[in-house]
Amino acid sequence: MLSSLPEAIGILLSFEGLLVLVLGTILGITLGAMPGIGSTVAVAIVLPFTLTMSQAPAVLLLLAVYAGSVYGGSIAAILINTPGTPQSAATCLDGYPMAQRGDAGLALGWATVASVVGGLVSAVVLIFAAPQLAAFALQFGPIETFSLILLGMTCIVSVSTGSVINGLTAGMIGIFLSTVGGDPILGEMRFTFDNWQLYAGFNLLAVVIGVFALSEVLMRASAPIRTVSELVKFNGVKLPSLAMWKGRFRNLGKSVLIGNVIGVLPGTGAATAAFISYAEGRRSSPNKENFGKGEPDGIVASEAANNAVTGGALVPTMALGIPGDAITAVMLATLTLHGITPGPKLVEDNPTLIAAIFAGFFIINLLLLPLGMLLSRVAAPILRVREAFMMTAIVILCAVGIYFVRGNPFDLLVLGGAGVVGFILRRQGFPMAPLVIGMVLGPTLELTLRQGLILTDGSFKAFFTGSPIALVLAVTAVIALAFPFLRSLKRKTP
C-alpha cells in the first residue's frame, strides 16, 4: 500500500480531490450542526451525488461529510443545547452551561481541538490497523468468509439499540431484500413476480435513503413541531491556550483511546463512546465536581471520543467488509455501488484507492481545525433554520439524488416505499442499521455459503470441523449472539 502512496497523494492534490475534501468537510459540519439531521442522514443525502464521481473522490467526499458532521454536532450542542447528532449529546452536558456563562467561543474551542486530536489519532489507527487485519483475513476462503460475515452480523445485531429481536428481524428483512432478483450462481429470477423492474433487485441506494432520510421526515411529521432555541452570545471560536491544557492531557489521551477501541467494535457507535468517555472523565478528572456545570474536561472527553470513533469504525469496514454501524454501512453501500467489492481483498486489490482514502481521512481531520473555526460562526444562524424548510428540502434532495443515479422512476417508488416501511418499523423500535447491513452483506453471505457447500460436498458440519478459523469465528458469533440474552437474564435474576 505504501508504494501506492505517491499516486494516492496525486489524487488528493488534484482539483477534484481537494474540492471534495474541502466541500465535504464544509457540508458535513453544516449538516451535522442542524439538529436532527445526524451523520447518517447527512451521508445518505450526499451519497447519490457521488455516483458521477470516480471511486476515490466519491469515498473521500462521504468520509469528509462523516467526519465533518460528527464535529458539526457539537456546534448545536454548545450553542442551543440541542445535539446536532446523537454522538454530541454528551457535549451538551458541559458545553451549554459553559456557553451560558458567556464562554461559548471557548467551549467550541475545546470541542474543536479535542475533535481534531481524536480524529487524527483515529486516522493513524486506521492506517496501521486496517492493512494488518486485512492481511490476516486474506487467508480466508469461502467457509471462513461465511463465518466472518455471520460474526459481523451477529455482533451488529446483538448490540442493536432497543430490542435484540427487533434488530435481528430487521437484519433478516435486509438479507431477504438482497435475495430479490437474479440468483448469484444460477442466475434464475427469485421473488420478481414477473416484474422486470425487479430483475436487478432493489436499488440499495433507494432503500438506504428511504429508511434513513425519508423515514426521518415522517418521524418528524408524527412528532410535535420543534421550536427554535435561543442562541447564546457567540463571537467566534476561541482556542484554549497551552496553559489551559495543563492537567487535561491524560483525560484527552484516555478519551481518544476509548473512542478508538469502541469504534473498532462493530455496532457500538460514537454516542456510546462519548458517554462512556464522559463517565470515565467524570470518574477520574481532578475537576470532577465541576462536571455538568461547564467543565472543559467534559467537553474534551465527549468530543475526543466521538471523533476518535470515526477512524476506528472504518477499520473493520475497510479491512473485513463488515460495517460497524449505520454510517459505515452506508459507506460500504457506496463502495458496492462503485463496483468495489468490500472485504479482505479490498486493500490488496485497490492499494491506490485505500492509500488515498487513508491519507485523505488524515487530511480531513486536519481540515476540521480551520474549517471548524470558520464555519462555527457561519453555522450559528443555520441553527435557526426551521424544521419545515429542512424537512421539505431533504425530501426534494432525496428524490433528485435517487433519480440522478439511474434515471429510473421505479427507484423513486422504492424510495417512497422504503421511507414508509422505515417509518412504521422505526416507530416500533426496529433499528434500521441491521436492515441496511443485511442488504449489503446478504449477497456475500449467500454466495460464500453455497460455494462452501460445493467445497464440502453439501456438508454444513464440515464448515466448522474443517477450518479452525471458521470454528473460532462461529463460536465467537454464538457468544456475541447469546451475550445480550444472558445479560438480560442476569438483570432479571435478583
Binding site: 458521477t52 430490542s163 429481536i165 427487533n166 435481528l168 428481524t169 433478516m172 428483512i173 438479507i175 431477504f176 435475495t179 440468483d183 450462481i185 444460477l186 434464475e188 427469485r190 421473488f191 425519508l214 421526515v217 415522517l218 418528524r220 411529521a221 408524527s222 412528532a223 410535535p224 413541531i225 426551521r386 424544521e387 419545515a388 424548510f389 424537512m391 421539505t392 428540502a393 425530501v395 426534494i396 428524490a399 433528485v400 433519480y403 440522478f404 422512476p409 423513486l412 417508488l413 424510495l415 417512497g416 421511507g419 414508509v420 417509518f423 412504521i424 418499523l425 416507530r427 416500533q428 453471505l445 449467500e446 455459503l449 453455497r450 457447500l453 460445493i454 453439501g458
Partner: protein, 152 residues
C-alpha cells in the same frame, strides 16, 4: 384486549404474515432441478424461516409486555406529509421534477407549521428552481421535465 390490538402487536403480526406469504411463494416458483444446497430458494427459505421465528417471538413479546408506542402528535400532519411524499415520488417521472416539487413544498411547509405565504412561495419556487437550473441547464444532467415545456 387493548394489548392485543396495540400498534406494536399489529406491526409484528404484519411482519409475520409477510414472511409467511413469501415463504409460501418459494414453493410456487419453479427452477432448474439441482441439489438442495444449490437451489435458488435454499438460502431465502432459511432467511424466511428465521424471519418468521423472530417475528413470532417479537409478537409474543409485544403481547406480553405493556410497552406503548410514542403517540402521533398530529395525524393530520402525518397523513398530509405521507400522502404528499408518496404522490411526489410517484409523479416526478410523469409530470417532471419542477412542478411536483413546487406543489410538494406548498403542501409540506404549511403542514409543518409555516404560515408566511411569501416565505412558502419563495422557498417552493427557489429550491426546485435552483436545482433545475443547476442540473438541467448548467451541469447538463437533466432531471425529468414536464409535458408542457422542455425547460422544466
Amino acid at each position: 384486549m387493548k394489548r392485543i390490538t396495540s400498534e406494536r402487536v399489529l406491526v409484528q403480526f404484519g411482519l409475520l404474515i409477510v414472511a409467511a406469504a413469501f415463504f409460501v411463494t418459494t414453493f410456487t416458483q419453479t427452477f432448474t432441478p439441482v441439489d438442495l444446497g444449490q437451489s435458488p430458494m435454499f438460502f431465502p427459505r432459511i432467511i424466511l424461516v428465521l424471519w418468521m421465528c423472530l417475528a413470532l417471538i417479537g409478537l409474543i413479546q409485544s403481547m406480553r409486555q405493556n410497552t406503548h408506542t410514542t403517540p402521533i402528535s398530529s395525524w393530520l400532519r402525518l397523513s398530509v406529509v405521507l400522502i404528499a411524499t408518496l404522490l411526489y415520488t410517484n409523479t416526478i417521472a410523469s409530470e417532471g421534477f419542477f412542478l411536483p416539487s413546487v406543489l410538494f413544498a406548498l403542501v409540506c411547509l404549511p403542514a409543518f407549521g409555516r404560515r408566511n405565504p411569501w416565505l412558502i412561495g419563495i422557498f417552493a419556487l427557489a429550491v426546485p428552481g435552483s436545482l433545475v437550473l443547476l442540473f438541467n441547464h448548467m451541469l447538463g444532467m437533466p432531471l425529468p421535465t414536464s409535458g408542457f415545456t422542455y425547460l422544466f
